[in-house]
């Protein structure tokens, strides 16, 4: 393989915490202290922290790396290092070819200038030549859907229009490396779809992509590697399924209550894997072990399927409603259950929750959110959550009895 387009080699980045000298008022006393040798009061200035610690990765042409992690994990710092706004404290970073950044796509807009004038200004900020912008101008405007307003000052634009125009300019760059920050969340559904397909086109053309996002399904869809950061440290680097599952476990798998819950997920043929990649409709089996730390007279076990990306409650059912007798257990005892279901879901990332409800006291006594994960892969991406297995065929050539067209027209 030819050299990597993006190389991040053991990068460390240190930031000063708190207020720095902002005015001469602070500088003068500190210089004075330095001269007189009194240093003790200067200690506050040395309060530093590591925003990134020993982060390494490579991205080759046509590959996409997703970077995920909680707020403050260091994702934006990586992007700022990649865009050359910041310089690493230790280690090196290298980018080859022309870099495009879908970060703050409307940062250069001036409210008093028209859309047209701002396209040229923002384009130049992104490193485009005038001829290049002129050549793509009509495409940019129509991509943003702003033809009627292009000669209106952008101060009269809505924030959505602003963001759409900015994204549209960036989308018409011709980069070798593309850095993307949480920008796909602009505009309405239709525009977001357009953006996502644009990203895929870039990747197909051989652009190396670094994508920072909280939008996990977008990461799963676009990227072939994902890096999980926590507190500035690289925690996981691997396939989207594995890393996203590790991330979700880290954020929500905390079991709570007086019942300890353990679970293992199996598919038809495979077993013991952490994060599953399955076909839509495949049958999954969840083996659940419950360890009781209290006495319960009547309890049920609930299973919930969550769509992680959309934070959507997809399906919930419990042992009592599928005919399993109510559970009765004493402190110190354990119980095993096995549940199976058909994953009639569309492409995406899902989590399983197991809960135990004390039916007598109407109280949840055990809860394990996101105890297991699975990812539904499919070639065609349907909209929505549930796969209803739509079928159909064209029947116009056959003489079938249906409502006459005139009736439909009325």
């Amino acid at each position: 393989m030819a050299g990597a387009m993006v190389v991040f080699d053991h990068v460390w980045k240190e930031f000063a915490r708190g207020e720095r000298h902002d005015s001469l008022r602070d500088l003068v006393p500190s210089l004075f202290r330095r001269v007189t040798g009194r240093r003790e009061a200067d200690a506050g200035a040395r309060d530093a922290f590591w925003a990134l610690q020993d982060v390494s990765f490579e991205v080759h042409a046509g590959e996409a790396l997703g970077i995920i992690g909680r707020n403050g994990a260091g994702k934006s710092t990586i992007l700022k290092l990649l865009t050359r706004i910041l310089k690493p404290t230790r280690g090196t970073r290298r980018l080859s070819g022309r870099t495009g950044a879908l970060i703050e796509v409307a940062a250069g807009f001036h409210p008093d200038l028209t859309g047209r004038e701002n396209v040229y200004l923002q384009g130049a900020i992104m490193g485009m030549r005038r001829a290049e912008i002129t050549a793509h101008f009509d495409e940019i405007v129509s991509f943003a859907g702003l033809e009627p307003f292009i000669d209106t000052p952008v101060k009269r634009y809505s924030s959505g229009m602003n963001a759409r125009l900015g994204f549209s300019i960036a989308a018409h760059l011709d980069p070798d490396v593309l850095l993307i920050d949480e920008v796909l969340a602009v505009g309405d559904m239709a525009f977001q779809k357009k953006c996502q397909s644009r990203m895929k086109q870039f990747r197909a053309k051989g652009v190396a992509i670094v994508f920072v996002s909280h939008h996990l399904p977008a990461v799963a869809r676009l990227c072939n590697h994902v890096l999980l950061l926590e507190g500035g440290r690289p925690l996981h680097l691997g396939t989207p399924g594995d890393v996203i599952a590790a991330y979700c476990r880290g954020t929500g798998a905390s079991g709570c209550g007086e019942v300890a819950i353990a679970a293992a997920l199996r598919a038809n043929r495979r077993a013991g894997v952490d994060a599953f990649e399955i076909e839509p409709g495949e049958r999954l089996t969840l083996d659940v072990t419950l360890q009781f730390h209290l006495d319960v007279e009547r309890a049920s076990v609930g299973i919930v399927v969550w769509d992680l990306a959309r934070e959507l409650y997809v399906y919930g059912a419990s042992s009592d409603c599928i005919g399993i007798p109510v559970l009765h257990a004493r402190r110190g005892e354990s119980r095993q259950y096995t549940f199976s279901f058909d994953a009639n879901l569309t492409r995406g990332l899902y989590a399983l929750e197991v809960n135990v409800v004390d039916l007598a006291r109407h109280r949840m006594v055990g809860l394990a959110r996101r105890i297991r994960h699975f990812q539904v892969l499919e070639q065609v991406s349907y909209d929505g959550v549930a796969n209803l297995y739509l079928t159909g065929r064209e029947v116009s050539a056959l003489s079938v009895s249906g409502p006459p067209l005139e009736a439909l027209a009325r």
């Binding site: 930031f15 000063a16 720095r20 000298h21 902002d22 005015s23 001469l24 008022r25 500088l27 700022k80 865009t83 050359r84 706004i85 910041l86 310089k87 950044a101 970060i103 703050e104 940062a107 250069g108 001036h110 008093d112 200038l113 004038e117 040229y120 200004l121 130049a124 900020i125 992104m126 490193g127 485009m128 030549r129 005038r130």
Partner: protein, 266 residues
């Protein structure tokens, strides 16, 4: 020093790569002024004209001074040159801090900001110079031969101004006091340069100090070349030229080397 040479080559290459942005930034500022103000470019003319009127009243009626050419012409020429430096620096000092969004979020060579400030003022300078040409025609003053020195004077003047623009923009990013200090110094500096009075009128230590001021040398050089029909005074102009042409690369390098700290410190 091969290291320094490659560093400079990179600087200039990068600037060349982003030449489009310098053009766009400059035209943005000009366009904005044209859109936001009723008089647009007329302000570029009005400021030096009004200043000339004020100083003409003072130095022709209240406290008359002897000048080699009619006083209004003498003053306008000086004020024109001074206004270029003053307005370029005034724009430059807040050019980085006024664009926080761009400085912290998007990468491009940050020199663009002070450079655009100088370029905008240069356009105003050219506009206002038309009045000077008119005045020279009116008074029948000026010679073609000495005009050959004009490019050299311009280069030194622009280099000197650009160097200060880089330093001030950078200094104000790290210490916001610079902007206020600068306003005070600017007024003082104008009277410490021989803008509205002839340098020969000042004697003693004060005269020596005023002559040591590079702006005095630059403004005086303009007058020699444009109004007196002679070459600039060699010693003061050569010193100003040496200073300007040395200061510019130094300032640019200093600016470039601290550039990566801008986003963290703004």
């Amino acid at each position: 020093m091969p290291g320094l040479r490659t560093e400079f080559r990179e600087l200039i290459n990068e600037q060349f790569e982003f030449r489009e942005l310098l053009y766009q930034m400059t035209s943005r500022d000009l366009l904005l002024r044209y859109k936001q103000t009723a008089m647009g470019f007329a302000w570029a003319l009005l400021t030096p004209i009004l200043n000339t009127v004020v100083f003409s009243v003072v130095f022709m009626r209240v406290a008359p001074v002897d000048t080699p050419v009619p006083y209004p012409l003498f003053a306008y020429c000086g004020l024109l040159a001074w206004n270029f430096t003053a307005s370029a620096l005034r724009f430059a000092v807040t050019s980085l801090t006024g664009n926080t969004n761009l400085v912290t979020k998007v990468y491009f060579p940050r020199e663009i900001f002070p450079f655009a400030a100088v370029a905008v003022s240069l356009v105003d300078y050219a506009v206002a110079a038309s009045v000077l040409v008119g005045m020279m025609a009116w008074y029948h003053i000026g010679s073609l031969a000495s005009l050959a020195f004009l490019p050299a004077v311009l280069v030194v003047h622009i280099a000197f101004t650009t160097a200060l623009a880089l330093l001030l923009a950078m200094a104000n990013l790290f210490y916001r006091d610079v902007k206020y200090l600068f306003e005070v110094v600017l007024t003082f500096w104008m009277f410490a340069s021989a803008i509205v009075y002839p340098v020969d009128a000042v004697h003693g230590t004060l005269g020596v100090l005023i002559r040591a001021n590079p702006m005095t040398a630059i403004v005086d050089a303009y007058r020699h070349v444009l109004l007196y029909g002679t070459a600039p005074d060699l010693l003061p102009f050569a010193s100003a030229a040496a200073l300007g042409l040395l200061l510019l690369p130094t300032a640019w390098l200093a600016f470039h080397r601290s550039e990566f700290r801008f986003a963290e410190n703004i």
